[in-house]
């Protein structure tokens, strides 16, 4: 029987994929090495995809024999992914040219990875999640090593690839075992089988464990985080931003969907597991971040810690926890993309300024940029009225409401620890004088635009979070039905 | 080949990794005993060292110990594929030194065997070159066998004339040692006509063959400047756009009597060298016919035939004689002291000078091109190493 072929259901992803293919053709036009137009076209595709997502808001359907789901959850994540991709495209334009690594394939691969992310967000079947994961990862593996000729770039790419493929192996074996236990890879049918008693089957339990290992890698939660710092440091800063925001969001989307729609009936069982992962990630991430002297590495460990915070919402589950996760991912996307965007604009002695000490005295020479960076950092700490505060508030609030008080407490303590290393950056910017030649700002219109968008997001979500929170919670509802 | 296709290979073979590969002296396409030490980057040759001397037989020293009567037969052994030209160079040097007149008939006979030799030698060149490119187990072998068949017919002619098939001793100081046997002229005409037709067949077979063209065109380009700087000669320099042929530039042995064309190509690649030689085939047979038509009667030598080894004595002095061999300028430098043996002799082998161009043109080509270029240079190592 032919499945229901619904282009509606895959419209946002199709828009991205079509744009990527269009870029492939456009890349062939002779343009004397300038590739800006590709980024602009790519951006248009991203915007189109986001508009389509908004236009489809409220639909809830299944297509292709349950392989694809079109629901608020998928659409919300399409928006998050759209923001992440769009910001990264904007940030990359001048940055790549500055590094002498401009090439049409970069933008194409960014879009390819975005397609993979939307696939993961809207997947109704484990095999689609797996394929989406691979589309995303393969593109990111290449992008991570984009700065060819730099040792750390190659190492980042290779480490990312080897560990990523290793994680895929676990993920796949997990799928195989779940298929064995339930006779299907479709999330709905798995849910039926789980409700029907397959939950106690060791096959399912082990399979699910392996699946979590695969997800854990992508969300960089401890103990699957080994790659994070190296890749964040070695990859081009704009790619780092994509890995930190889009790929993490997509992985959380798939994880959340599996947990909430297929395994909701056994929530107490997996909640314990994620409780442990959340605590480990938060604590380990923050503690190690304290010792970092490289801003990109520091942000990498911060991202591990944030994976822990988000996992708190996963543990809480339900509309409240799920909604908190979605909202926080949106916040985190703006904040992190913004923070990496600031770093990417700084140069010292003709190389990227990524050391903490490079920030010294930034406030006196570039007050606007320093202020922007401070806002992003404060949001990462979670200080009102930034978006980070609201996000954390709802995550920990959901945990408290569902009875995980200790988890919330650990989260808050961790936030306090984290404040130290974020604020240290602000201290450097405002209270230290630079040694040697000062760090300079490389002006770039597209990147400025990206920073403005990110800043708007952080402030908007911090000051007027309510409509977005409602949206996030509404998005989770379909999963819980 | 367009550069895109080259890139595919470079990508596949590990980039910076360099491999040193020894080609020869024991190698199917070493044309004897040439040794090329190739530095490969993937399939691409990035450096080449040529090693020669594996066939050194002290030929020049030998020349000092043998008399003017003895040596012409030994001169054959320098370039054993075109023995007639080497013999001629030697005896001409001796004649210049001794101011010895050569009868017209002998001059014509010398042109006759010289051009037949050119045909035979080019046959070997075409066959081996195709075998280098096409393999002993492929189309190359087919061409080789065809060419060898035709060369055999020329060798049959020489056998009827001299009694030997490879190393002749046809020339002697003052003329030639043998006159044409009865019926030889007719056989010769038929052979030349037959080979002319066969050359047409080869051209059809090769020039309509895209694979052959792909291997020959644009490969191993020798620029005009390089050709002149290195001092290559013969078909090689003519393929690089230099109109230089000793038969024309400095006629010897009555070449001025004959009407022939000196083919010149400008591309300088293997295909141009191939074209030059293919035209030379035809021009040679044209000359052969003219010789047969206009062969004057008379003595074949201004000196008596060979009676004793020491009968020729050349007065003191020195001379350099050169002739246009199939491979280019074959020169012989003689220093005489008045005795029956030269005091010093020196060969200028065409292959030796031509070979010197290889290290300049081979880097940048693929391994497979190395043998194609080598073959198109047509070296004979008896002449290189002497």
């Amino acid at each position: 029987m032919l499945p229901l072929i619904s282009f509606r259901a895959i419209a946002p992803g199709m828009a991205l994929a079509a744009t990527a293919c269009l870029l492939l053709l456009l890349d062939l036009l002779p343009t004397r090495g300038r590739k800006d137009h590709l980024a602009v076209v790519g951006l248009a595709g991203v915007v189109l995809s986001m508009i389509l997502s908004l236009g489809l808001w409220g639909s809830d359907e299944r297509a292709f024999n349950g392989m694809v789901r079109l629901d608020g959850f998928a659409l919300f994540f399409n928006l998050v992914i759209g923001f992440a991709t769009g910001l990264v495209l904007l940030l990359s334009i001048d940055y790549l040219r500055r590094q002498g690594m401009e090439s049409g394939e970069f933008y194409i691969l960014v879009l390819f990875s975005a397609v993979g992310m939307t696939l993961m967000a809207g997947a109704g079947d484990l095999i689609v999640i797996f394929l989406g994961l691979e589309v995303m990862s393969l593109s990111l593996y290449v992008l991570a090593g984009w700065f060819e000729g730099r040792l750390e770039a190659g190492e980042a790419s290779m480490k990312y690839f080897l560990l990523g493929a290793f994680a895929s192996g676990f993920f796949l074996y997990g799928i195989a075992l779940i298929f064995g236990a339930t006779g299907s890879t479709n999330l709905d049918r798995i849910a039926v089988a789980v409700a029907g008693g397959a939950a106690r089957d060791p096959l399912l339990i082990i399979g699910f464990g392996l699946l979590v290992a695969g997800f854990g890698f992508k969300i960089s939660s401890v103990p699957f985080h080994m790659w994070t710092a190296d890749v964040y440091q070695g990859a081009p800063t704009s790619v780092t931003a994509l890995i930190a925001t889009g790929s993490k969001a997509a992985a959380f989307a798939a994880l959340l969907r599996v947990l909430l729609s297929a395994l909701r009936t056994v929530q107490p069982d997996w909640a314990v597991l994620f409780w442990g992962l959340a605590v480990l990630s938060m604590t380990a991430g923050n503690v190690v971040a304290l010792a970092q002297q490289n801003i990109k590495r520091m942000l990498a460990y911060s991202s591990i810690a944030h994976a822990g915070y988000i996992l708190v919402g996963v543990v809480a589950g339900g509309a409240l926890g799920g909604g908190g996760v979605l909202f926080y991912l949106l916040v985190y996307t703006f904040t992190t993309a913004g923070a990496f965007g600031v770093i990417l604009l700084l140069e010292r002695d003709g190389r990227e300024a990524v050391a903490v000490s490079d920030l010294a005295g930034l406030a006196t020479r570039h007050p606007v940029l320093a202020l922007t960076f401070s806002v992003f950092l404060l949001s990462l700490v979670g200080i009102p009225p930034t978006a980070g505060f609201v996000g954390k508030f709802y995550l920990f609030g959901a945990a408290v409401r569902t009875g995980y008080v200790w988890l919330a407490v650990i989260g808050v303590v961790n936030s306090a620890i984290a404040a130290y290393y974020y604020l240290r950056l602000i201290v450097f910017m405002y209270m230290r004088e630079p040694e040697g030649s000062p760090t300079v700002l490389v002006p770039s219109l597209p990147a400025g635009l990206a920073l403005a968008v990110a800043l708007w997001g952080v402030v908007q979500l911090g000051v007027l979070p309510a409509p977005f929170l409602d949206l996030a919670q509404a998005a989770v509802i379909p999963l819980l039905r | 080949m367009d550069p895109e296709a080259r890139k595919v290979i470079e990508m596949g073979y590990g980039g910076a990794e360099r491999l040193t590969m020894n080609m020869g002296p024991q190698h199917p396409s070493a044309h004897g005993v040439f040794r090329a030490i190739l530095t490969l980057q993937g399939e691409t040759v990035v450096g080449m060292d040529a090693v020669i001397g594996y066939l050194h037989r002290c030929h020049e020293k030998l020349g000092e110990t043998l008399t003017y009567t003895q040596y012409p037969s030994i001169a054959s052994k320098t370039d054993y594929v075109a023995a007639m030209s080497s013999e001629l160079a030697y005896v001409r040097a001796a004649e210049l030194l001794g101011k010895i007149e050569v009868p017209k008939r002998a001059q014509y006979l010398r042109v006759l065997v010289g051009e037949l030799q050119r045909i035979a030698s080019h046959c070997v060149w075409l066959g081996t070159w195709c075998m280098d490119m096409g393999g002993a187990l492929g189309g190359g072998a087919t061409v080789f066998l065809y060419c060898i068949r035709e060369r055999e017919m020329v060798l049959d002619l020489f056998e009827a004339l001299v009694g030997a098939r490879l190393l002749y001793g046809f020339h002697q100081v003052g003329g030639t040692r043998y006159d044409l046997p009865a019926g030889w002229v007719q056989t010769c005409r038929e052979t030349v006509d037959f080979i002319d037709r066969r050359i047409g067949e080869w051209e059809d077979m090769l020039e309509d063959n895209d694979f052959f063209l792909a291997r020959a065109r644009g490969v191993g380009v020798i620029s005009r400047e390089l050709a002149q700087e290195i001092g290559i000669s013969g078909p090689l320099i003519r393929a690089s756009g230099v109109n230089y042929d000793i038969r024309r530039a400095e006629p010897y042995s009555s070449y001025e009597d004959f009407d022939f064309k000196v083919p010149v190509e400008t591309a300088g690649d293997c295909y141009a060298r191939y074209r030059v030689r293919m035209v030379e085939f035809r021009e040679s047979s044209k000359i052969v016919r003219q010789v047969l038509d206009g062969l004057p009667a008379g003595p074949i030598s201004s000196r008596p035939g060979v009676k004793s080894v020491g009968q020729v004595r050349i007065p003191k002095g020195e001379a350099y004689a050169r002739v246009e061999g199939p491979r280019g300028e074959v020169g012989c430098y003689l220093v005489a002291d008045g005795s029956a043996k030269p005091y010093r002799m020196k060969w200028r082998g065409a292959s030796f000078s031509n070979l010197a161009v290889l290290p300049h043109i081979i880097p940048g080509h693929k391994v497979a091109d190395v043998v194609a270029i080598m073959g198109s240079v047509d070296p004979v190592f008896g002449e290189v190493d002497r």
Binding site: - | M1, E4, G12, L19, M21, D132, G139, K366, V367
Partner: protein, 326 residues
């Protein structure tokens, strides 16, 4: 259990027949090449040189078996066998007449393609194990070439599959009862031509024999082999070639179809296969070898798009022919 015995017996018979055919195919090729080159060819051993292959085999068996001191011994020694096995296995699925074959698998042609792709492993082991630069370079070339030509080879072989609507080789043969696929308008001829070209490449015959290119790489991957092992490699190569010829005859020339009683079928099949073989041989003895980069360019720029288009065109034809509703 009897099934197994039957299969074993059938396998044994086919294997013996294959070895016999392959041995004499070398003589056929040598005679054919000799004719092309105005020679006589082998003539001394037996009447008209008929015993020459046997003499060759005996000679090779008695020669000294040399293993280079620095060779990777295990790999080096295993390589000829690994090389030979696929050459023999490909005959397992070929039906020589209706119902006459070792195993008429329902994925026959896939089995054939899969097994013949395995040849590269043995080749590689030989190239690596010899610890010789010529052999190494040859193995590298082999990978480049075989990976490039596997795709067009598979695509062209799939054209008859589409036309016949089955992967089973006997079905493909019977589907040509009316019209041999080579006579199928346009598609048939193009596919057959592409098949012959890719066959040349897959079997490493001139003009695609860069991996043994004796004027450059002396003998390529088998430069260090002698005696028995050399014979095995040679046998494997010819077996592969004969097998592919049978495949070509089966896919395009109607297999056992031909005038005369049914029992003549296998004879017809053999004749057609030999026809394909001689076609390949004819090309082999009249072309010069081309360069690696040119070979790859031909594959990627010409054959691959062509075969892909051909496959799509065939699919279109099949759909149009059978009408909607499939």
């Amino acid at each position: 259990m009897t099934d197994a015995v039957d299969a074993f017996v059938a396998g044994f018979i086919v294997l013996s027949a294959v070895v016999g055919v392959v041995t004499y195919v070398t003589l056929l090729e040598r005679k054919f090449a000799a004719r092309m080159q105005s020679r006589i060819g082998p003539y001394r051993v037996g009447p008209h040189g008929l015993l020459q292959p046997i003499a060759d085999a005996l000679k090779l068996l008695m020669k000294e078996d040399i293993v280079p001191r620095l060779a990777d011994r295990v790999v080096y020694n295993l390589a000829p066998i690994v090389f030979l096995i696929p050459g023999m296995l490909i005959f397992a699925t070929i039906p020589f007449a209706p119902g006459l074959g070792v195993a008429d698998l329902n994925i026959g042609i896939l089995f054939f393609l899969a097994v013949s792709a395995m040849e590269i492993v043995g080749l590689f082991m030989a190239g690596w194990g010899s610890n010789n630069k010529y052999a190494l370079l040859s193995a590298m070339r082999a990978v480049n070439q075989i990976i490039s030509y596997d795709l067009p080879f598979i695509f062209t072989a799939l054209v008859p599959v589409l036309l016949a609507g089955s992967l089973r080789l006997s079905d493909i043969a019977t589907a040509q009862a009316g019209l041999w696929f080579v006579f199928y308008p346009v598609i048939g001829q193009l596919a057959f031509a592409a098949f012959i070209i890719t066959t040349l490449a897959a079997e490493n015959r001139v003009p695609f024999d860069i991996l043994e290119a004796e004027s450059e790489l002396v003998a390529g991957f088998r430069v260090e082999y002698s005696g028995m092992k050399f014979a095995l490699i040679q046998l494997g190569e010819y077996a592969h070639m004969v097998g592919t010829s049978f495949l070509g005859a089966l896919l395009f020339l109607g297999a056992w179809a031909g005038p005369g009683p049914a029992w003549l079928g296998p004879v017809w099949f053999l004749l057609k296969a030999m026809g394909v073989f001689l076609l390949v041989t004819w090309v082999r003895w009249s072309f010069v070898r081309i360069r690696v980069d040119q070979i790859l360019a031909i594959s990627w720029k010409l054959l691959l798009p062509l075969s892909l288009l051909l496959l799509m065109a065939t699919a279109l034809v099949v759909v149009l022919r059978s009408g909607p509703g499939v």
